[in-house]
């Protein structure tokens, strides 16, 4: 560690993880050609599922609202291509397994809905109007959690700090990095809109120091535009991008167990979400596409692709010319917190930050051996739990006893299992405890 590193802001615990980002970090964002068919699940977010607004045979265009949710915590979904509704039925879903979805056959014309047009008089829009636009545009957190953004930006109590999350600490993923480099101006405009909505003075942009280019470019552009956002270079350490760890690193506050960032006066928004806010407000464009990092050592053409929501993984994998070796695992998201898929016939959803493909030899079954109480999991746990103790509780089936170790504090970041020399499936154990002990 050199002196610069030591002084770099970060959180206690965690671990530097080999990033594998060189596979795609220099790949400019490239728009993938339209697929012949898209599958738009009616649930792509935290909260209530959307009701379909179209029926079989209806004509839709890119940006046409096709599903709307009821209740406070919900969102909307839109068609991502122009064409005809082929069916509304259950379909494979990368998170839920299966979910009602609107299946649309593309007509290849890629026409936009009439609503998609540049908006004027943005400066006059009130906070409420902006929130309504965000909800109507189906914007959710694009970092992976997919929490409806209009809810997040309207906290029940005032906050004083906005942190923009450009950390991207998951190995392999580079979509946020490319976005910060290639869409810097849109990002800054999006941040300004969010700043207006949440009404704060202090705005920080947190980026890991291994993304130097992004740090420098943002700093320069902020100077040019005379914005008062502060870019904070953070130590490259997993899970630096987890909300609570990011808040700790940037402003030194700890979010208490069971509380949310606004409880300590902070709101955290991912860079991709900020750009989506800009597009929705300024261009009138709902969230119907996103950037997806398609990567893995065995992928023939790893890429950062701009993909229409609802595009099948199989279409994307084919566009990247498939794999050099037989596939062992397809993961939606990164290798630490991503979800293994049972098929490539699943659609891209709003939370799909990456598609990671691993070869068979990269997922050798890690056999579990006895815990040697080495303490690595304890030292690495960013919320300072005792992961080994929970793992042992599951081994001896003492679920009640596990409660004293606060299993609910666990954000399932996987750092403990990653470092465990005994290859214990600690995260699985904790999930089990959470499921069994209500």
């Amino acid at each position: 560690m050199n002196g610069l590193n030591a002084a770099m802001k970060t959180f206690p615990g965690g671990k530097h993880i080999e990033g594998h980002k060189q596979l795609t970090r220099n790949e400019p964002i490239c728009a993938m050609p339209l697929p012949a068919q898209v599958i738009i699940p009616l649930s792509q977010h935290t909260g209530s599922i959307c009701e379909p607004l179209v029926k079989k045979g209806d004509k839709v265009k890119a940006g046409t609202k096709i599903g709307q949710g009821n209740g406070v915590v919900s969102s909307t979904v839109h068609a991502s291509v122009s064409g005809t509704v082929n069916n509304i039925s259950d379909y494979n879903h990368p998170v839920l397994g299966s979910c009602p979805a609107v299946i649309i056959d593309s007509d290849g014309k890629d026409e936009n809905d009439a609503q998609v047009k540049e908006r004027s008089g943005i400066a006059e829009l009130s906070k409420e109007e902006l929130l309504a636009i965000i909800k109507d545009s189906g914007i959710v957190g694009l970092g992976g959690a997919a929490f409806p953004t209009q809810v997040k930006l309207n906290p029940p109590r005032p906050v004083d700090t906005l942190i923009i999350n450009g950390v991207e600490c998951e190995p392999y993923l580079t979509c946020d990095f490319r976005l910060m480099l290639e869409r810097t101006n849109e990002l800054l405009q999006g941040i300004q809109l969010i700043q207006k909505i949440v009404n704060v003075q202090k705005v920080f942009i947190g980026i890991e120091e291994d993304k130097q280019e992004a740090v420098l470019q943002l700093r320069n552009r902020i100077m040019e535009k005379k914005r008062r956002f502060e870019v904070v270079a953070l130590k490259a350490k997993y899970p630096q991008g987890a909300e609570k760890q990011l808040i700790k690193a940037v402003v030194g506050r700890e979010v208490p167990p069971g509380k949310l960032p606004f409880d300590v006066g902070v709101i955290v928004v991912n860079v991709g979400t900020a750009v989506a806010v800009y597009e929705a407000v300024c261009l009138g464009k709902p969230l119907y596409e996103r950037i997806v990092t398609v990567t893995g050592r065995i992928v023939k053409k790893p890429a950062n692709l701009k993909v229409r929501l609802g595009t099948r993984f199989s279409d994307i994998i084919a566009f990247c010319e498939g794999t050099k070796e037989p596939l062992g695992k397809i993961i939606m998201g990164g290798p630490m917190m991503g979800l293994a898929q049972f098929t490539d016939d699943v659609p891209v959803i709003k939370g799909t930050s990456g598609i990671l493909m691993l070869a068979k030899d990269e997922i050798k079954d890690f056999t579990e051996t006895p815990c040697i109480r080495c303490g690595r999991c304890v030292n690495v746990c960013p919320v300072r739990m005792l992961p080994y103790a929970l793992s042992l509780c599951v081994e001896s089936k003492s679920f009640e006893q596990a409660l004293q170790y606060n299993p609910r504090d666990c954000m399932e970041c996987g750092a403990c299992a990653y470092v465990c020399p005994a290859k214990r499936r600690i995260v699985e154990s904790i999930r089990l405890i959470k499921a069994v002990v209500k």
Partner: protein, 328 residues
């Protein structure tokens, strides 16, 4: 989509990658870090020490293998922990221990302190030290016959700590012929009477530094252990009242360096948090000091570690990290 392809995808849950570190690599690394000290020992005390080392290691591994067979074929010897136990046991024996006794020690170490507790990870006491203490209790004469360095003809000589104690307590039971005056350099290089692996501080430190750099052991236990012994012996082992004791002698003699870096740091039988480890090391140091100065034995490292082993479950229960977000 092709059904066959879908069938073959792995569905194990996150994290999907693991740090390339394994229990057996850790154990074998510690094992190899201990080898230089054994080599010096063979050089100082002759080939008989080599046979003791081999017997202890093979004895421990064979016992573990046998127990595994009886318990239903679980083969755990490749994790290296049994071999390490055997090696550490050998390092705690006198250079002319008879081989049958060595084997008994190895057997006891594995069966009574490991297997009966449920195997690796569940033992409370350091297995090698259980083996040693058992042998001390059963064969006290054989366990305290110390040949002088470089004298294959087996002239016995008192260990530096025995000499110290004799004069400190004013018992003067040692005959003049038994007493050899060692320089610090002799002590540092291991040219002195004592157990097989404990002598060469230089070789032990070499391995320890490597283990520290690799992060296989942390500094908390060795530093607090040795530091406490140093302060304690400086304060109380002096000729005239408080302070001025020969603490360097106490650091370099007996099994302190071996114990502090290689045995008190045993993951399974030491506290899991850094704070717990500091307390553990401090306790070990205190007990060692008390035994060395006022106890019935010249050396107290093994007993101190075993006694502190008892406290580990308690330390781990009460010394836990502050929950993230909870008020200080």
């Amino acid at each position: 989509m092709s059904e066959e392809r879908a069938m073959t995808l792995s569905m194990t849950s996150s994290p999907h990658i693991r740090f390339p570190e394994t229990t057996s690599r850790i154990m074998w690394t510690v094992f190899f870090c201990l080898i230089p000290s054994g080599i010096v020992s063979v050089y100082v005390f002759g080939l008989s020490t080599l046979w003791i080392i081999i017997t202890a290691v093979l004895g421990a591994v064979a016992t573990e293998y046998g127990c595994g067979l009886m318990a239903g074929g679980k083969n755990t010897i490749s994790d290296g922990s049994a071999a390490l136990t055997g090696l550490l046991l050998a390092y705690n024996l006198p250079p002319q221990a008879p081989l049958w006794m060595v084997f008994i020690g190895a057997f006891i170490a594995i069966v009574f302190s490991k297997v009966l507790f449920g195997g690796l990870g569940f033992n409370i006491f350091n297995p090698a030290l259980i083996g040693r203490v058992f042998l001390m209790a059963s064969f006290p004469v054989l366990m305290t016959r110390w040949p002088a360095p470089f004298r294959v003809d087996a002239v016995t000589a008192a260990t530096p700590l025995a000499v110290f104690k004799d004069s400190f307590q004013g018992t003067n039971v040692l005959s003049q012929a038994d007493i050899i005056n060692y320089s610090y350099r002799d002590l540092f290089l291991g040219f002195r009477g004592g157990c097989i692996g404990e002598g060469c501080v230089a070789a032990l430190l070499l391995g320890a530094v490597y283990l520290l750099i690799r992060g296989y052991i942390s500094w908390q236990i060795p530093v607090s252990f040795i530091g406490t012994v140093a302060v304690f012996s400086w304060l109380f082992s002096g000729k005239d009242g408080i302070a001025g004791g020969d603490f360097i002698l106490h650091i370099l003699s007996g099994g302190l360096v071996l114990g502090a870096f290689y045995m008190a740091t045993d993951y399974v039988t030491s506290p899991i948090t850094k704070t717990g480890q500091l307390i553990f090391g401090f306790g070990c140091g205190l007990i060692t000091g008390v035994i060395r100065l006022w106890g019935g034995y010249p050396e107290g490292v093994s007993y101190s570690i075993l006694l502190m082993n008892i406290l580990v479950p308690l330390l781990d229960k009460f010394i836990v990290p502050r929950r993230f977000g909870e008020l200080k």
